[in-house]
Symmetry: C2
Subunit: 348 residues, 2 copies
């Protein structure tokens, strides 16, 4: 049986109402709530059908109905009206652009959390293939060298290297030359063992230093790959009684704290095909076990040069999908734009 227009309207009304109240919604309520001018008895009949079709369920015999995962899914897929919400305030907050990436990300997470009343997370943009862009060795004091490593996307890392003998300026220059001419533009896969030994040989007496530097490079790139995740508004879950009981809350808080658990979510939402950058997970669809009573909405933003980051909003299944998707779209656009801006600033 296909859903006729009226059934759809009723389902939509049920969901909308449930989103607001969090309580099972009965036939009488719908009869008044909609502009269908139907009696509660008729609604009851329709609701019985909808239940049989699996779009709504009864928590117990004499209670109203609440949407099932399938019901939410239909709602999200086809029934949500697009409307440009007032996210102006949000835009403004983002405009005062933070200098540092991590500050910016933390702020975005926070703004999102405050705005939506759900828990949020965001990852820093990450590269698929990291290429080495630039290496600089300098002498900090008698016993220490500083290696500065810049990789594609202007990610910069530093590493201290201990040395046991003095290096004069000329040697420093030579080592820098050697490293840059041979390593620039290479990704971690490109740097072979053969190349390393060759370099060490060329450096002669200073081979160990070259070795140390290359180790540092490898570590830098590796480190950039294990991603940083920022979360905010986790205590928002207490606003939704269906998530706030002790066991569930504890599990959720833990998931948010153990960032690596969230990475499953990132990985999953990462595979989005272009044009569908926003994903919605409802209940059991979630890739994380502890979130099976939640809904999750994720969006991928781009930061140029193939760098992508992920934003996620986690809330109860009766999430205000319209608002969340709308807000995420806005944020995504803002973040995408941010990179363009950066780009322009670079070439005045």
């Amino acid at each position: 049986m296909m859903l006729d227009e009226r059934k759809k309207k009723i389902l939509q009304a049920i969901i909308r109402n449930y989103l607001e109240t969090g309580e099972p919604v009965g036939s009488r309520t719908i009869s008044k709530y909609t502009d269908l001018n139907l009696s509660s008895a008729t609604i009851r009949n329709e609701m019985a059908d909808l239940e049989e079709l699996g779009y709504i369920v009864q928590p117990h015999t004499s209670a109203g109905r609440i949407p099932s995962d399938k019901g939410y899914r239909l709602y999200v897929d086809s029934m949500m009206e697009e409307n440009a919400k007032q996210v102006e305030e949000l835009k403004e907050m983002l405009v005062e652009k933070e200098e540092k990436m991590d500050h910016l990300l933390k702020q975005v997470a926070k703004v999102l959390a405050v705005n939506t009343n759900y828990a949020t997370m965001i990852t820093a943009p990450r590269c698929q293939r990291n290429k080495l862009k630039f290496i600089q060795l300098s002498r900090v004091d008698e016993n220490q060298l500083l290696a500065v490593i810049v990789i594609e996307g202007n990610v910069i890392k530093n590493s201290m290297i201990s040395i046991s003998e003095h290096l004069d300026d000329e040697t420093m220059l030579k080592l820098n030359m050697l490293l840059n001419t041979h390593l620039n533009g290479l990704s971690i896969e490109d740097i072979s063992l053969g190349m390393i030994t060759a370099l060490k040989q060329q450096a002669g007496h200073y081979g160990t230093i070259i070795g140390d530097v290359i180790d540092a490079v490898a570590e830098t790139i590796k480190e950039d790959e294990d991603l940083e995740i920022y979360t905010s508004g986790t205590n928002n879950i207490f606003k939704y009684p269906e998530l706030a009981d002790n066991r569930r809350a504890s599990e959720l808080i833990n998931t948010f704290e153990e960032k690596q658990l969230l990475s499953q979510l990132i990985d999953d939402s990462d595979t989005t095909e272009p044009g569908h950058e926003i994903k919605v997970y409802i209940g059991e669809e979630a890739p994380i076990q502890t979130m099976k009573d939640c809904s999750i909405v994720t969006a991928n933003y781009e930061f140029g040069e193939g760098m992508k980051g992920t934003i996620g909003i986690i809330g109860p299944k009766r999430m205000d999908y319209e608002k969340v998707v709308g807000t995420l779209k806005t944020i995504k656009v803002q973040l995408d734009a941010l990179y363009q801006q950066d780009d322009k600033k670079k070439l005045p």
Copy 2:
């Protein structure tokens, strides 16, 4: 009235028992629990005294007694027996020393949380006065300079500077010389406006670059001063029913998330005089309003060159003070030692 030995023993027994069970403890329990061989009636008399003195309270008329803040305080101050706990496991985990400071700190927080079953926090070591140690300008590409800034304690920060014209090697060298000879060893207060203009003049055509670099230096030092706080095991609060009700849990989780709220705690515990590096806050003594149902134990560790960090453990008032203080002491020693080790490695 001074507490005689027996009253002390009874109080101690009450506290110990309450720590275990979390339930009010009655006279009969104590009569059995201790080796005093007293009847419950006698205990009752003593308990009445203890209550009058304010060391214990009754939640309601016909319930057992629980320790008051004052009772805990006495316990912590004078009645805790020092005993070397088995923190070997913990030592081992710390021994596999992480390269990166933030990794290490996160791990410490986690190990502590798992070990104690309380929520934990830790700050990175922070300097009182940051002196500039070394500056390095290098050319990354046609339009960008990279300024690497090293401050005392080997904190390293990077900053990109956009340039509109090509700089040749000689100029780069000159600028580096200029910056290092004039700025090294200075703290932020030492860099006067006069000095800046003088430097800019010397740099002539490249004065704006010098300005940019100095801005970056200022920002770097400032950034290092607003401290990073890592937390772990926040969901442990759900293990203690007296903290796990919705309102309290939400407030606590929020406090842990809004790191800046925790900084009040840091500031307060920072003022510790030498020899008393471990502080215990009980209930209302806590400098953070939301934690007035908790107890907090903090320790300061040192990282040489006047850098100090803070570790904190937050749990219910019926916290196992002995274990916590013992564990914190161990961790503190480990962290203190870590620096010494680092120091040695520097001078082989």
